[in-house]
Symmetry: C2
């Protein structure tokens, strides 16, 4: 890193704002930019080398035109690199909290090197006895989302009946395992035979079904939950939510983490059964993990312990190389990934 060499900085940039399903061609790989491996004098940020990137459903929303939602990340700018969660190594630091060589996870650019001017959202990685990629998912945003959404938002109790959609995804697989560890009855839905096998045989869900093979989701849910659902961990929205509402128990809780089935539709599907919210006194609670970040260390310590005790397992789907990042990101909206989708850039 000596003294600020200027190096190539390969990037994934957004070509144009997206409507409908994103395509690989909505993004471009550019190799024309360079970056000086030294922060400008007086910077309070960090310069990082990116090792892993995370592909997450919320990124679809940032591809829309407009400035984005207040209190959320801003939308992407055509011609500029995408950004999202990643695992990175500090190359230069103007922050007293990070030193050169530190491993961190947080929001970074879809590029080889990124200057992160505010380190507020950056977390130092202390425990490297687990795969580093886990900090893009299991021990990062997705895992923490599962923890907050299940334990904090749903107030679960032993023996309750839990349904998780997109259950083989980055968040869902962990929600199911947390629920099993608490002694709940857990059913998951996913979109392929391979994923259903994972849910039942690897993650220990009590039951799992392929929603693409079910003609009547209401009847399907009645089959798996003859007494009704206490807790629904909502990742998909649309038709599934409609069927769930009819099958919720009195005082049921729905934590709304995402609605991936709706992100690419110009007009979202209508949800018709909301009257159940009144008659069954349901609680639907949208949340974002970062609002609960004071709980992160507690989550991380618990999850690390579970991993080491063999009580939690995690499946990742890792694309190799920044140039494969666009395909990996597009793939999650088609359900191509099996497990947490990440992109490997470089070892160190």
């Amino acid at each position: 890193m000596g003294g600020g060499d200027e190096v190539r900085n390969k990037q994934v940039v957004l070509r144009q704002h997206v409507t409908g399903f994103p395509k690989e061609e909505d993004m471009a790989i550019t190799t024309s930019n360079t970056i000086k491996l030294k922060l400008p004098e007086g910077s309070a940020g960090v310069l990082v080398k990116n090792l892993y990137l995370s592909c997450d459903p919320y990124m679809r929303n940032l591809m829309n035109a407009g400035t984005g939602m207040p209190g959320y990340l801003p939308n992407y700018t055509p011609g500029s690199p995408l950004f999202g969660y990643g695992v990175s190594k500090v190359v230069d630091s103007g922050s007293p909290d990070f030193k050169i060589g530190d491993l961190v996870w947080g929001i970074t650019g879809w590029e080889e090197y990124t200057v992160i001017s505010s380190t507020d959202g950056l977390t130092k990685i202390e425990d490297t006895s687990v795969p580093l990629s886990y900090y893009t998912g299991l021990l990062g945003m997705a895992g923490f989302t599962a923890y907050v959404g299940f334990h904090e938002i749903c107030s679960p109790k032993q023996g309750e009946c839990v349904f998780v959609s997109a259950a083989a995804g980055a968040v869902g697989q962990l929600v199911g395992q947390f629920a099993k560890l608490l002694g709940c009855y857990v059913v998951g839905s996913a979109g392929s035979k391979e994923k259903i096998d994972l849910l039942k045989n690897k993650f220990g869900f009590d039951e799992a079904f392929n929603y693409k093979e079910e003609e009547d989701l209401d009847a399907t849910l009645k089959r798996y939950f003859p007494e009704g659902i206490d807790i629904y961990f909502e990742n998909v929205g649309g038709k599934m939510l409609d069927a769930v509402l009819v099958n919720m128990k009195l005082h049921g809780r729905i934590s709304a983490c995402g609605m991936i089935s709706q992100y690419n539709l110009e007009k979202p599907e209508g949800v018709h059964n909301l009257v159940n919210v009144v008659t069954k006194r349901l609680k639907i609670h949208g949340f974002i993990q970062s609002d609960h970040f004071h709980l992160y260390n507690q989550f991380r310590d618990l999850t690390l312990r579970y991993i080491k005790e063999g009580k939690i397992t995690y499946v990742e789907d890792i694309a190799e190389g920044l140039e494969h990042a666009p395909a990996a990101l597009v793939g999650i909206f088609k359900g191509k990934n099996v497990g947490k989708q990440a992109v490997f850039i470089t070892r160190d």
Copy 2:
């Protein structure tokens, strides 16, 4: 009451289960039944004479076929009288909690006399310095619903922006006044000029609009809430809910009290904007006042004080005579009532 005279017991019975909008002809007045004005030996209930009946939107749901929702009242049985909230006078009592001559409010039959076998849901009326009819609304279920739904479910803070639909109804008018007393900015919607005048000039709402005259509810809400809505008190559902979701602020709260616009539709309208629940981390909470009944005395004392201090006002729409009860009930689904709809049966 001497020794158990047998008297005529006029009743409003359900003729058949209802689909779509209820009609007066779905109910019938019968005068052929008699009742003995004495409880059977060993009864732990009460025999009451009904003075006022309350017409409430939830009653539409009880007209459906089927047994009704668990944890709710059972559905009505064709050939039997309807039931609902009312104000009554105890004529005979087998309960240590009630004595002959006591005034009570709670669930009773749509008839002149009713035997109430379990007194669990019955509340003794202590303060009769206000109109007795208030215990069908302002000091009964509707008022308590406003209190619970606003103060308990929405966690309101001074200065927040509050929107109330069906704002001139039994619940809405009080929600708006509670919100004003807390120092909120309050806008209400209703369906006639007369109701809008009431909202602005009698109940002290900051603004009010006639939803029937608005072509684009999203634009309407943006006009009244340029910064967005903190709290929505949901009484109607459907299109209004859809427009509200787009206009909610981050961390907004929706207390779902009812969805009257949907009760008479065979297929409820689709709500398309639920993704806002995730992106804005909204809370939607269905509730029923009876789950919070431990707060009733607190509510009653506060509201009685406000009434006596002239800080709260209440508009009632009272039909005269049991034979007009079917029309009064049907009317609330057409928005014919101005204020709380009740039915007067007899003075004492």
